[in-house]
C-alpha cells in the first residue's frame, strides 16, 4: 500500500484489531506512519464468507474515510536512543535485577536473564574481531536497524557469548540481511520462524560449537551453541526490531526461536562437509542460516538399508499441516523489492549411524535427496487441504489438470535439491527433520 501511496494513489487497508500495532509499525518503517486502516475485529482467515461480509460492512465508513479524508504527512516518531543506560541498587546484584526488569518492560529481552553489557565486557567482546566497532555489517529488517559491529557485540554479551563467538554472529547476521533471506517475511510472520544456525569449518571448532551428543542442547557441551543461537535471536530483536507483539506477530511461538545452533559433525560424516555442497572450499569456515518452523525426529533403530531409511524419513516429510509441505503448488516465497524467489527447503540432520548405512551402500547426499523426492509424496487432494486454489491457479495455471486427478501423488518439495542434508549428533539411530521456511543462506566467517 505504501508503494501505491508513493505513486499518488490513496489506499486503505483492512486490518484486524490484533494487527493494528503491527500495521502502523510496518507502515512507519516504510516511511508512512499515517497509512489509513479499516479496522475489523478478527482476521478474515478461517471465517465464513457471511462473517467476513459482516465485518466488511461494519468497517465500510472507515474504508470511505480512508480514501477521501486527508492524511497528515508526518515524520516517524522514534524515542531518543540513549547510548548508555544506568541502573542503581543496594548492591550490584540489586542493580542487575533492575536491568532485567527494565529490559523486559521495554521488550528487549528473550525472557531469560541477560548478561550486563558493560563497557568493559563489550570491549572484551570486540577483541574477537578485527573489524572496527563502528563498521556497518548490515541493515537488518523489518525495522531497518543499523547493525554495527559494536551493536552486535553488545547483543553477544547480553546472550552470554565470548569473543570467539563474535565472528560467527557477524556471519549469521550477514546471512539474515541477504536479500535472498527475505527476513522481513520470516521475522514478522504469524508463523514460528526460527533461525537454525549451522556452523562448518575450523572456526566453529575454535568457538566450541558442539556437533556431537545433544548438539542442539541443552547442557554444558552445547553452551556455545546456546549462547550463539541466543545472540542471533537477541540481534533480530534489538537490531532488527523484531519485537513480539510489535513486529513479531507469531501466533503461538516456539522454543526453537530461543536458540537453535550447532556445527556439522564433519569428523564422523562419510561425505564432504555441508558447506562444500554450498560452493565453499573444504577448509573454509562458514555459517548457514535456514529459517525453520518445527522439528520432527528421524528415529529408526531397525533399518539397515538406505531404501528402508528413506521410507521412514519420508513419513516426516509428508506432513501437510506443516506450511511448507507442497507449498510450491501455490508459488514461491518472493520479495518483490529485491526480486528474489525462494524454493521451500527442508533440512535433515542425519546421525552418523544412519549416514554410515547410506555410505556403505554407496549413497551420497544426491541419492538420498532423489530417493526422498520420489518417496515423500501426498495425494493432490490432501496437499490442497490448506491451500488457496486461486493461488495455485495464479502460480501454476499449467497444472489445473491436477484437479481432475485428486489421488495423484505429488512431491512435497519442488525438486530433490530442496532437501538439505548435514551429519550431526552422536551414537544411535536418531536424526532430526526441520520443516523449513524458504532457502538457507551460507556465508564465510571472517576474522
Amino acid at each position: 500500500m505504501v508503494e501505491l501511496e508513493r505513486r499518488g494513489i490513496p489506499t486503505v487497508l483492512f486490518t484486524a484489531q490484533t494487527f493494528v500495532h503491527d500495521a502502523h509499525r510496518s507502515a512507519a518503517s516504510f516511511g508512512l506512519p499515517g497509512l489509513p486502516l479499516a479496522v475489523v475485529p478478527l482476521p478474515f482467515t478461517n471465517q465464513k464468507p457471511e462473517d467476513v461480509h459482516r465485518m466488511a460492512e461494519a468497517a465500510f465508513d472507515q474504508v470511505v474515510a480512508g480514501l477521501t479524508k486527508a492524511v497528515e504527512a508526518r515524520a516517524v516518531e522514534r524515542p531518543a536512543l540513549e547510548e548508555r543506560l544506568a541502573y542503581e541498587g543496594d548492591d550490584l546484584l540489586d542493580a542487575w535485577g533492575r536491568l532485567q526488569a527494565d529490559f523486559l518492560k521495554r521488550g528487549w529481552g528473550d525472557g531469560f536473564p541477560l548478561v550486563a553489557p558493560t563497557e568493559r565486557a563489550v570491549a572484551a567482546m570486540l577483541r574477537g574481531t578485527k573489524r572496527a566497532p563502528g563498521d556497518q555489517v548490515a541493515v537488518l529488517e523489518p525495522g531497518f536497524g543499523i547493525a554495527t559491529v559494536e551493536k552486535l557485540a553488545i547483543n553477544a554479551v547480553l546472550a552470554g557469548c565470548g569473543p570467539e563467538h563474535l565472528p560467527l554472529l557477524i556471519a549469521a547476521v550477514r546471512c539474515l540481511a541477504e536479500p535472498k533471506m527475505y527476513i522481513r517475511n520470516k521475522a514478522m510472520s504469524t508463523g514460528p520462524h526460527a533461525p537454525l544456525v549451522l556452523v562448518n569449518g575450523p572456526k566453529g571448532r575454535v568457538a566450541n560449537i558442539n556437533s556431537g551428543m545433544c548438539a542442539l542442547g541443552p547442557g554444558a557441551p552445547s553452551a556455545s551453541n546456546t549462547v550463539l543461537g541466543r545472540a542471533v535471536r537477541l540481534t533480530m530483536m534489538n537490531v532488527g526490531h523484531t519485537y513480539v507483539g510489535v513486529s513479531d506477530m507469531d501466533t503461538i511461538g516456539s522454543p526453537v526461536k530461543y536458540a537453535c545452533c550447532c556445527a556439522e559433525n564433519e569428523a564422523e560424516s562419510p561425505w564432504e562437509p555441508y558447506h562444500v555442497t554450498r560452493g565453499f572450499p573444504k577448509g573454509a569456515s562458514t555459517v548457514t542460516v535456514h529459517f525453520v518452523y518445527g522439528i520432527c525426529e528421524l528415529h529408526d533403530f531397525r533399518s539397515t538399508t538406505p531404501e528402508d531409511l528413506v521410507r521412514v524419513f519420508a513419513t516426516a516429510a509428508t506432513n501437510v499441516a506443516q506450511v511448507g509441505t507442497g507449498l510450491w503448488l501455490i508459488g514461491r516465497r518472493a520479495d518483490p523489492r529485491s526480486r528474489t524467489e525462494e524454493r521451500e527447503h527442508n533440512t535433515l540432520f542425519i546421525c552418523p549411524e544412519h549416514a554410515q548405512i547410506f555410505h556403505k551402500a554407496g549413497w551420497g547426499r544426491r541419492q538420498i535427496q532423489e530417493a526422498l523426492y520420489r518417496e515423500a509424496r501426498l495425494p493432490f487432494k490432501t496437499m490442497m487441504l490448506n491451500k488457496e486454489p486461486q493461488a495455485m491457479a495464479a502460480a501454476h495455471p499449467e497444472l489445473g489438470w491436477m484437479h481432475d486427478h485428486p489421488d495423484l501423488p505429488i512431491p512435497v518439495v519442488e525438486d530433490p535439491g530442496c532437501f538439505d542434508i548435514a551429519v550431526v549428533g552422536a551414537a544411535a539411530g536418531r536424526g532430526t527433520y526441520f520443516y523449513g521456511a524458504g532457502e538457507p543462506v551460507t556465508l564465510p566467517v571472517e576474522d
Binding site: L13, G31, L67, F144
Partner: protein, 97 residues
C-alpha cells in the same frame, strides 16, 4: 548504593519517508482498485466492499488485482504497482489479517 552502567543494545534505524497521496473529496465516477493478496477470506471482504461502494457511488468502476509474485501471500512488484497506479485512482487492500 551501587551503579551498573551498560551500553544500549538497540540499534538506530534507517528512516524512510513517503508523502501520503492526496485524497479525492468523493469516490463517485472514480476507477477503484480492489487488491487481494490471496490470503483466505480477503476476497470475500472485497466482494462485500465492492457491493457497498457500488451502492453508494453508482458511477464508480472497479478493477480487481493481486500480486504477480509470491505464495501464501502474493505481492505487488514495482511493475504491478505502476500498472495499478495507471489504471485506478484509489485502492482498497486486504491482506486478510
Amino acid at each position: 548504593m551501587a551503579r551498573l552502567e551498560i551500553l544500549n543494545p538497540v540499534a538506530k534505524t534507517v528512516e524512510h519517508s513517503v508523502a501520503p497521496a492526496r485524497r479525492p473529496p468523493d469516490l463517485d465516477g472514480l476507477p477503484i482498485g480492489l487488491y487481494w493478496n490471496m490470503k483466505a477470506g480477503g476476497d470475500a471482504a472485497l466482494d462485500r466492499t465492492e457491493a457497498l461502494l457500488r451502492a453508494r457511488f453508482p458511477k464508480a468502476t472497479f478493477r480487481r488485482y493481486t500480486g504477480s509474485v509470491g505464495w501464501l501471500m502474493r505481492h505487488c512488484t514495482a511493475e504491478d504497482a505502476d500498472r495499478i497506479a495507471s489504471e485506478v485512482q484509489v485502492v482498497v487492500g486486504t491482506t486478510a489479517d
